[in-house]
């Protein structure tokens, strides 16, 4: 738009001036026309000479004017848009402009019809000096008007000729929509008890448990913002809405520090902070669902992280969240119908700092070789729970990731990825809000999962996972969530592109007998499919 105005402004005065100047030229023209029939006299020749002179001057004046206008235009363009931080001269424009071959003198040696390369006779053949007169080239590969303007702080530069696109780095916010669905079969009628995650298949038949809107972008030079709004259909096809995450984080704190505040997933272990559509299996591992909760451990809070100034990757993360409700599952969770582990829960306001959940994590990573990476972390989550006045919960976690990826990988394949997480939970179960439960107990529960994914060819991944959870026996509660159990899963996933996937998974569940519950074995098969629209979700490691 700016350009158009400038060009218009440049043209108008030129047109006006040329119109004015044209007048005297026209008025003087009848003279030679009249004298055409008569033989040429000295006076005639003089008149003609004068006329030619005046015309020449007019043309010169016009040329000068046009030149001035062009120079002004050029200047305006360059100064207005140059994003080059320093020393714009000699500009890359000139470098790109410079003919690589002395096209005029040796036309046969370099076979190009590139006008910028061949036909430019004004520029010196081979040098770094700027070619005069800007860039009158049509070579689409080389030309350059100015530095690309950028809007997103993390996105790529955009060219000025681009239309506004969603996800193309030309807008203030990236938007994407992800739909994750499953068709489920299970030998158990109560699939919602067998599957422990809220986004896992919950009933026989079709399931739509994770339709996710994601937004992200730079807020200003100091913050980035993220939000994930999840819609899910319950077993009666009613729509539930979750603000899964919505937070801002700093981008430019010194000393490698970062602050984050809002609603977010706790950085506990590998899987908890990630969204279901990035998972390698169709369902949550048992230990994640039963210790951190069906929705994962997340909540409103604040987090600070610091990458240590060490030669390898080492990061300390420390968060505090309310830990209240079902997303603070083992913490201040009133439970279904006001009961948790059969205790009547207190569901109280925070009394002090001890009622928040405190979540530290330390993770380290090294490259074993150019094709192998290891990442190991330890996490903790400490807070109080609602089963008694002074009941507390501690969860400790350790995780390990090993990945090999071929040095000749295409589309990220082939690869082998091994991921294991271990958790231990100490849960002080009180006697309930009214002390009605017969005993107070302390449960020592532990669990783990280990999975191997093998991307054996582009777009194809085979996976196998083992799950185990050991719940300490209690003679006082028949809570279904306190049954020790294990699971073995195998799956095959096809990613037609990184924006879609189709997955077939087989689960074999073994629920161990305890004082109240009988043992049983369950088989399930899931067919899962997914699509992603909009911004390209970058892949975190």
């Amino acid at each position: 738009m700016k350009k158009i105005i400038l060009v218009t402004l440049a043209i108008l005065p030129v047109a006006a001036v040329s119109a004015q100047e044209a007048t005297p030229v026209a008025s003087s023209s009848p003279t030679p026309a009249v004298s055409n029939s008569t033989p040429a006299t000295a006076a005639d020749v003089d008149a003609l000479r004068q006329q030619v002179q005046s015309l020449t001057e007019t043309v010169k004046a016009l040329q000068q004017q046009v030149k001035d206008q062009q120079a002004a235009l050029q200047k305006a363009n360059l100064t207005g848009e140059s994003g080059l931080p320093q020393n714009p001269e000699p500009s890359p424009i000139a470098a790109a402009e410079t003919p690589p071959a002395p096209g005029a003198s040796a036309p046969s040696s370099f076979p190009t019809e590139d006008t910028s390369v061949v036909s430019s006779t004004t520029a010196p053949p081979v040098s770094g000096t700027p070619a005069p007169g800007g860039f009158p080239t049509t070579d689409t590969s080389v030309v350059t008007s100015a530095a690309p303007e950028t809007i997103s702080s993390t996105g790529a530069g955009a060219s000025l000729t681009q239309p506004i696109t969603i996800g193309g780095g030309k807008n203030y916010m990236n938007i994407s929509l992800d739909g994750l669905f499953a068709l489920a079969y299970s030998s158990a009628k109560d699939l919602d008890h067998i599957e422990v995650g809220d986004h896992d298949p919950q009933q026989r038949g079709f399931n739509a448990r994770n339709i996710e809107l994601a937004f992200d972008g730079a807020v200003d030079p100091y913050f980035e913002g993220f939000a994930n709004i999840v819609f899910k259909l319950d077993n009666d096809n009613e729509t539930d809405v979750e603000v899964e995450e919505a937070f801002m984080q700093t981008t430019s704190l010194p000393f490698n520090l970062q602050l984050k505040a809002g609603q977010f997933f706790a950085a506990f272990g590998r899987l908890n902070p990630t969204h279901p559509h990035t998972w390698d299996f169709a369902d949550t591992p048992l230990v994640n669902g039963l210790f951190l909760g069906p929705d994962g451990l997340r909540g409103v809070g604040a987090q600070t992280s610091w990458t240590l100034p060490l030669p390898w990757y080492s990061q300390l993360i420390f968060a505090s969240q309310n830990g209240r409700g079902s997303t603070g599952f083992s913490f201040r969770n009133p439970g279904d119908d006001g009961m948790f582990f059969d205790r009547i829960t207190t569901d109280r306001e925070a009394r002090g700092l001890q009622d928040f959940v405190w979540i530290p994590r330390w993770e380290n990573s090294v490259d074993l070789s150019p094709t192998q990476v290891v990442l190991a972390g330890v996490s903790g989550a400490f807070g109080s729970n609602e089963t008694g006045a002074n009941s507390r919960t501690q969860i400790y976690g350790a995780d390990l990731l090993y990945k090999w990826k071929s040095s000749h990988a295409e589309g990220g394949f082939p690869f082998v990825k091994w991921q294991t997480e271990f958790m231990y939970r100490r849960f002080q179960a009180g006697r309930g809000a009214d002390e009605s439960f017969p005993v107070a107990e302390t449960f020592h529960d532990w669990g783990m999962y280990s999975q191997v994914l093998w991307g054996f060819r582009k777009g194809w991944v085979a996976g196998i996972r083992g799950d185990y959870v050991d719940m300490q026996d209690s003679n006082f509660t028949d809570d279904l969530d306190r049954q020790s159990r294990w699971r073995i899963s195998a799956n095959l996933t096809w990613y037609p592109t990184e924006f879609s996937k189709i997955r077939l998974q087989y689960n074999q569940d073994f629920l161990e007998e305890n004082f109240f519950l009988s043992g049983r074995q369950v088989e399930s098969v899931f067919l899962q499919w997914e699509f992603i629209l909009g911004a390209h979700g970058a892949h975190k490691f």
Partner: protein, 299 residues
């Protein structure tokens, strides 16, 4: 305990000695190679992607975060080629020195008019880059422009050695200008010839050296070759008497071999990146190799 203390003592020492050299991170080996031409031994260079792997899909390794955190200069393409892995790394690196707009950030596509900018951005067309084709460094004239950008960045950050960087740029420019004669002469007999490529990585190379590379084994960018598409490609190749199929180190060579045996064409291993082929540890050697390989196949 003593060891830890030693280690802690070593940290400031490391950062102090870093003053002497510029820490440069290049996302891709081609940018790395140009940085080396300009920076010589006055830079510490870390290249993130491997020369033999698909540059669209590089793992965002945590160790890259450390490299980016310590970087004085980051050279990236700026044309969405690294979109799948660079943004989370930058987010974690939290390094203001390499923010867009700072002298420490060189976006190679800056000032380059990209080819094949799609009029409509739709993923139905495959893995299309909204800003245009990002595989531009294989055009030596563009490489010169990038090298100049790099020289400007280095000079801004290390004014004491500005003359050194400028001289290296001049040297590189002169080499490329001279080499262009040679490459042009080698390729001139094959002007207008059709060449088939596995992936659409070569429009800039084709443009510069006068060959046509617009038939691809992939039916759409990033989509694996399908039998029906290959049948079509084979028919086209026979009709146009195509002599060469370009594959990159990470492509499935067997597919190209099959097509080659059905058409009598030769499979030519190409790479966008110095180091992707044997004996190509510099940019000039890479283009030398590409030109001589292609010329040999087209003879």
């Amino acid at each position: 305990m003593k060891r830890i203390l030693l280690l802690l003592a070593a940290i400031p020492a490391c950062s102090f000695s870093a003053h002497a050299k510029i820490n440069v991170v290049a996302t891709l080996p081609d940018f790395g190679s140009l940085a080396r031409e300009i920076g010589g031994d006055k830079i510490n260079l870390v290249v993130l992607a491997k020369a033999t792997e698909d540059p669209h899909f590089v793992d965002a390794r945590p160790s890259f975060v450390v490299s980016l955190r310590n970087a004085d200069v980051l050279i990236d393409g700026g044309a969405e080629l690294e979109l799948g892995w660079l943004p989370p790394l930058l987010q974690n690196a939290r390094n203001p020195k390499i923010e867009i707009g700072k002298p420490g950030r060189v976006q190679a596509s800056q000032g380059i008019r990209l080819m094949n900018v799609p009029a409509n951005v739709t993923r139905a067309a495959g893995d299309v880059h909204a800003l245009g084709n990002p595989h531009f460094t294989v055009d030596p004239i563009i490489a010169k422009a990038i090298a100049q950008h790099i020289a400007q960045s280095f000079s801004a950050l290390d004014p004491a050695d500005a003359a050194f960087y400028e001289a290296n740029y001049k040297k590189f420019e002169a080499t490329i200008n001279a080499k262009l004669q040679e490459w042009g002469a080698a390729m001139s007999p094959f002007k207008g010839q059709q060449v088939v490529a596995y992936h659409d990585s070569w429009p800039y190379f084709a443009h510069r050296f006068g060959v046509n590379i617009d038939i691809f084994l992939e039916p759409k960018p990033g989509i694996p070759p399908s039998p029906s598409h290959l049948t079509e490609v084979i028919a086209q190749m026979k009709a146009q008497k195509v002599k060469a199929i370009i594959v990159e180190p990470f492509h499935d060579r067997r597919i190209a071999e099959k097509v080659a045996s059905a058409t009598g064409a030769k499979v030519v291993e190409f790479s966008q990146f110095p180091g992707g082929l044997p004996g190509t540890d510099s940019y000039v050697k890479l283009i030398d190799t590409l030109v001589s390989r292609l010329a040999a196949a087209l003879k």
